[in-house]
Amino acid sequence: MNLSPALSTKTRSYLSANSRILFWIPTLLFLFSFFFFPLFKILALTFNFETLADFDNLLVARDSLLFTFYQAALSTLLTFALGLPAAILFAKFNFPGKSLLRALTAVPFMLPTVVVAAAFNSLLGERGLFATTFDLLLSTFDLQPSTFNFILILIAHTFYNTSIVIRIVGNAISRLDPKLESSARVLGADTFHVWKDVILPILRPSLLAAALLVFMFDFTSFGVILLLGGSQFATLEVEIYIRALQLPNLNLAALLSVIQLIFTLVFSILYSRTINQVSTQTAPRFSASRPPKTLRERLFVFTGYWILLTFFLLPLLSLPIRSFTRLEADRGQRTEVQYGFTTDYYEELFINRRGSLFYVPPVQAALNSLGFAGITVILSLALGYPAAYALAKPTRLEKFLDPFLMLPLGASAVMMGLGFILSFGRLIASPFFIPIAHTLIALPFVIRTLQPALASIPERLRQAASTLGASPLRVWQAVDFPILSRATLSAATFAFTVSLGEFGATLLITRPEYPTIPIAISRFLSQPGGLNYGQAMAMATVLMLLTTLSILLIEKLRFNNAGEL
């Protein structure tokens, strides 16, 4: 009898310390050269006399930090104003179209920032579908265009993050035992005390967790702010970008990214602490949701339904509509404009015009994006697989290394871009740094998607296969592959989507010859003329479609709760 299959299973299941380290080498090498080394560069530049002794630097840092807090706090408030009633709506009531509406509210969360920015621009922006309404609003309320843009940013943040409140707080509400309220009332609590002494204290961890997460996302928001507001809204992120490229002061940029990193880490730690409290309270689910009964309940469900539907559907619809509608002259000519339906914006994408924004036809941006996304998929799978394999059966080594793998999540994309500029200087003219940056961002997600699938393969299955005479390769084919193929495809799609939509890091390291779709959209948006604006709309529509298809694919492939971080 041949003993080798049994032996090889043993080595597969209990990787020796040496082979474990071998598994880690490519991933760690990658992280060290492209994350920790740039991070070190940023830190070195921050903690030097020249940076910290410059009073102007500190002033800018203080102002942008304060403004970041201010806009994040307002955005969080607005998100809760919409999210809390929505969470109650989904947790307490059943109504036709509920699951569809719920899915709709979750769509923005996965959309690239440029798409969301373009969508709100197409709806409420000064060149959007409701441009006349926009003018009217400005004059009636005597608003400055900049104030209006600021409001637009807050609304876009709300659009992005409402689903977080719905998910975290809604879950907690649906887990609330209705008997607690009954008990409290019978014991003498009126409605005020029921909320103050029972419901709110029980919901507090989840409210806090949702608030922290929403605040963190608003705090680090970049694309939405830059594209809807412009560089006048100098949050930390925007200021890093300005100081890295427009008004170069790399010392200040480094200082700002360190401040940003510190706050993000603090928020993440607070968040993971509170979310742990939430999960310890996972009492059995009470199927408390029911059709609305009283008139007040029906009114609540009806208005809630229509507000949510309008709010989440309108921007997503107005973007494609605007991409087919001519509202202004193509190049600011004074001749009469043909208003109405047009396919020009799409056709123009394929034409390389002299005087256009790029040296290449805009469609080249799409090809670049697809190419970068392909490389990102290959790279992140190649690096993610060994790490996920080792993490699936963690030893002390893995438990020690795991937080380091997730650390890139805490760094903003703009900061990564800055790190690349500081570390690799002129080398970043090479287009290969773009997929490397995208891989850094996608890698934690890829690992977290693969890891549970790998961990879920029972060792006994492998042993059974090998005692039945399967060679190691056959074992892998028969057991591992079917289980892994779904997770792999899911992880690959994830990396692909991240790369397609990535804006912050790309903006800092890209060269004009290699625009990606998001870069092209942002450049088109910043230029005058109806044709440029229309092309931005057209490209954003294409990107939205691609991303939506990817989301649907990931949802179909979702392996239990894999990919949740």
Binding site: S182, S183, A184, V186, L187, H193, V198
Partner: protein, 336 residues
């Protein structure tokens, strides 16, 4: 004291309670017995003010409670799954009702420690309720309901989630506390043993109304209704047909009893062992002998439970053999 007057309530468009009327006197414990889904809990919720009758009235000392919200009713309610506040410790759970009534802190401390002693949980003050066992949680829930000295206590299948021996202990404790405090109580259950242990009076809820309202021993003697006998596990119920004024025919033979039904009608009869093993029962009408074919014999402590063909169960001192035909003295009663 408490009175329900012709209370009507439907659930999702279907009638649930068609006409409920009963009273609870001061110091009395009544037991509301009914199958699951019969609307027992709804009655409690309406008394507590958490739900509203569609018609009829609920009165306390002759005053209609309709306008009184639950938090002003001064009632206590104990649930099967406790309903303890997970974010509060034992002390704060019990103190909740007192705090709502703005009782001074010193008094609250005193009262809670007395209650903890009463439910045998002294020293548990600062424990998390989520770390307690089921029995301990239910004790906390009991103390919490007792704390504000409610005018009425309600129990909604309080022991349903506990195991047997714990159930007995806690049932006796509740009984003791109710006796001592003289707080009137409504105890809802579907478990006849609990009902017989705790109730001064048993009310049987069936198809939306209360079909029987009597002391436990009376109900045991005269269940009157097949539903009552079934619910309380009294005797055996068999189908019969009325063949004349004083005769009914069954698969076990013909009996001489007078049911208030027309000839040809189908009725149900209650067959009780006679004399019953514990010496219950009085000689009289409906006495008969029937022949049973033994199907199964089970040993039960000091006697044998004999299952016979036709689904009849009796108890005997000596174990018969399977397939034996035995003759048994029984008492037959009409049920409606």
């Amino acid at each position: 004291m408490l009175e329900l007057r012709n209370v009507v309530k439907s659930y999702e468009g279907k009638p649930l309670l068609t006409d409920i009327s009963f009273t609870v006197a001061q110091g009395e414990t009544i037991c509301l017995l009914g199958a699951s889904g019969s609307g027992k809990s709804t009655i409690l919720r309406m008394i507590a003010g958490l739900d509203f009758p569609e018609r009829g009235a609920i009165l306390l000392n002759s005053l209609d409670l309709a306008g009184t919200p639950p938090h002003l009713r001064d009632f206590g309610l104990v649930f099967q799954d406790y309903g303890l506040f997970p974010h509060l410790n034992v002390f704060d759970n019990i103190a909740f009702g007192l705090k709502m009534r703005n009782v001074p802190v010193d008094e609250i401390k005193q009262r809670v420690s007395v209650l903890l002693e009463q439910v045998n949980l002294s020293g548990f003050d600062s424990r998390k309720v989520t770390d307690l066992s089921g029995g301990e949680q239910q004790r906390v829930a009991l103390a919490r309901a007792l704390a504000p000295s409610p005018r009425l206590l309600m129990f909604d299948e309080p022991l349903g989630a506990l195991d047997r021996s714990l159930k007995e202990d806690l049932l006796n404790e509740i009984r003791g506390i109710l006796h001592k405090t003289k707080i009137p109580a409504i105890y809802v259950t579907h478990d006849q043993e609990e009902a017989f242990t705790i109730a001064d009076r048993i009310l049987v809820l069936h198809e939306g109304t209360i079909i029987r309202d009597a002391a436990p021993q009376e109900i045991w003697k005269e269940p009157q209704y097949a539903a009552v006998a079934k619910l309380l596990g009294i005797g055996n119920i068999i189908d019969a047909e009325i063949i004349s004024d004083k005769k009914v025919r069954t698969e076990f033979g013909t009996f001489d009893i007078n049911c208030a039904n027309n000839i040809g009608e189908k009725v149900q009869l209650l067959i009780q062992e006679f004399p019953s093993p514990s010496g219950r029962g009085v000689r009289g009408e409906g006495e008969a002998q029937i022949q049973l074919t033994v199907e199964d014999v089970l040993f039960k402590q000091d006697q044998f439970q004999v299952k016979a063909r036709g689904g009849i169960v009796i108890h005997m001192k000596e174990a018969p053999k399977v397939d034996d035909v035995i003759t048994v003295q029984v008492q037959v009663k009409c049920l409606s």
